[in-house]
Amino acid sequence: MRKVAAMGKPETALSPDQKARKAWMGLLAKSDAALLAERMVEMADLPGFEWLRRPEVGGVMVRGRMGGTGAPFNLGEMTVTRCSLRLATGEVGHGYAQGRDKRQAEQAALVDALMQGARAEAVREAVLAPLEAAQVAARSARAAKAAATKVDFFTMVRGED
């Protein structure tokens, strides 16, 4: 199975820092906007920032594979909002969020920038950890309901003896 993770580079070619950033950006993109906003309130004294790219809503063409494993084809688009900003302290943050919520993209970019600075640990604890916990909980709740609908086959004994 091909596993081309990053710009043609295999997953293993990423540095630990890149892997970590990839993980938090993905987490923020898939997060619940309301929960992210609620967690950001906890972050006091956020530094000022300037926009490098204001939030814009766009489409990403989602691709599938023929037969699940073959050559790619275009399935259809999804909405994504992105933006980039630079903190007063110099760090550049990129924000991506599924859907059309510009506030969510802005907060994702802020967190991305903060995670590169001195407050990374505090941000991880106050924002990223609760977002991850919420995603894991939602995912395992669905998996648990699915598991309850798994068929347990048994064979009826038939015949004379």
Partner: protein, 362 residues
């Protein structure tokens, strides 16, 4: 011939005002909200996303509200909105073998790793109206069991091990995109699959059904049907690596057909593939059957003159927005066209009348 006609403006404005009032209906009944539609009419939302070709449940729900539940009108609204979006990029192909499955069934193998998981299905219900839903009632809670953590492998991978099923040709080429370039024939499979995913559910269903009934005979088994969420990853040029930008719910269907073999291929099973947004399994199964049917030529099996074997027939008629645009335009004013036709019919009648008068006189 087209001639500009004026004078309808006031009537049009008033018609639209009345439309807005009718959309709301009886004001003593609570108004529907977009979140209510998104949560409680989710399968309509899924259809609008699939055929509108844009995954955004909130927008699809809004379109359904605006269109008063006319799903093709809602799909039209989504298609129109989609054209206004700048294209950020394209994703890496989604990895459906890593899907978090809500549902996963196989009609070909009883015992498969991961098992037969029914999920929230209408199957095995009695299709009796449930009058309890007319009253506000308690929602029964879904039962939970020990969740499966590891990914669920594709069923066809088991047939693959024995070499009994055709393997899918790999390739990383950029697939054609019919939203960027007009659909031209002959189409390759990537283009056909894109068109079928966007295609009208009713049309694709009927095409698939026709192959089952004998028009381009093929007997398909559902090797696997799965529904669940997959992550969508795109390259971020400014970072030099890819990130997940979201996750989408998909329905995937793989069908298998017996194939007697050809000069170059031994007898084996061939595949049909369906992939759609949301929980849309009727569409995904239909799509897989039609995909397989349209592959007949490349597989070297008999191609009949049945509609489902005719790429041009299927691909040029499956899009309900194109179809409805052409069909419904005939209700718009054609006064001048029709006047010329009327002149022509009068002239023809006059000619016949004078000819028979002349005949009678002779």
């Amino acid at each position: 011939m087209y001639v500009a006609v004026k004078g309808g403006e006031r009537a049009i404005d008033n018609a639209h005002a009345w439309l807005a009032e009718e959309r709301r209906g009886d004001v003593t009944v609570a108004e529907l909200t977009v979140p209510q539609i998104r949560e409680q009419l989710a399968l309509a939302v899924n259809r609008v996303m699939t055929e509108g070709s844009l995954y955004d449940p909130d927008l699809a729900a809004l379109a359904i509200k605006q269109s008063r539940g006319d799903l093709i009108e809602a799909i039209f609204l989504i298609r129109a909105y989609r054209t206004t979006l700048p294209r950020i990029g394209h994703s890496h192909p989604v990895e459906t073998d890593k899907m978090a499955c809500d549902r996963r069934v196989s009609a070909t193998f009883k015992d498969v790793p991961g098992g037969q998981v029914l999920g929230p299905t209408f199957d095995y219900t009695h299709r009796l109206l449930d009058f309890k839903l007319m009253a506000e009632g308690e929602v029964p809670e879904a039962v939970e069991a020990e969740p499966r953590i590891e990914p669920t492998p594709h069923v066809t991978s088991f047939l693959n091990k024995e070499g009994l099923i055709q393997t899918e040709a790999e390739g990383e080429d950029t697939p054609p995109d019919l939203t960027r370039e007009p659909l031209e024939l002959p189409a390759n499979r990537a283009l056909r699959l894109q068109a079928l995913t966007r295609g009208d559910e009713g049309f694709i269903l009927s095409m698939a059904y026709s192959t089952q009934r004998g028009y381009g005979n093929s007997h398909a088994f559902v090797g696997e049907l799965r529904i669940g969420k997959v992550a969508v990853e795109i390259d971020i040029p400014e970072l030099g690596f890819a990130i997940e930008v979201g996750e989408v719910e998909l329905t995937e269907c793989e069908t298998v057909n017996k194939f007697a073999g050809s000069k170059v291929e031994p007898p084996q099973f061939t595949r049909g593939y369906g992939l759609t947004f949301g929980q849309t399994e009727r569409k995904a199964i239909s799509m897989a059957l039609v995909d397989r049917s349209l592959r007949s030529k490349e597989l070297g099996v008999e191609v009949s003159n049945s509609p489902a074997h005719d790429e041009e027939f299927v691909l040029y008629h499956c899009d309900n927005i194109q179809a409805t645009g052409f069909l419904e335009h005939i209700k718009l004013p054609h006064y001048v066209d029709f006047q010329s036709e009327m002149e022509l019919v009068r002239k023809m009648r006059a000619e016949i009348a004078s000819a028979s008068a002349k005949e009678a006189a002779e």
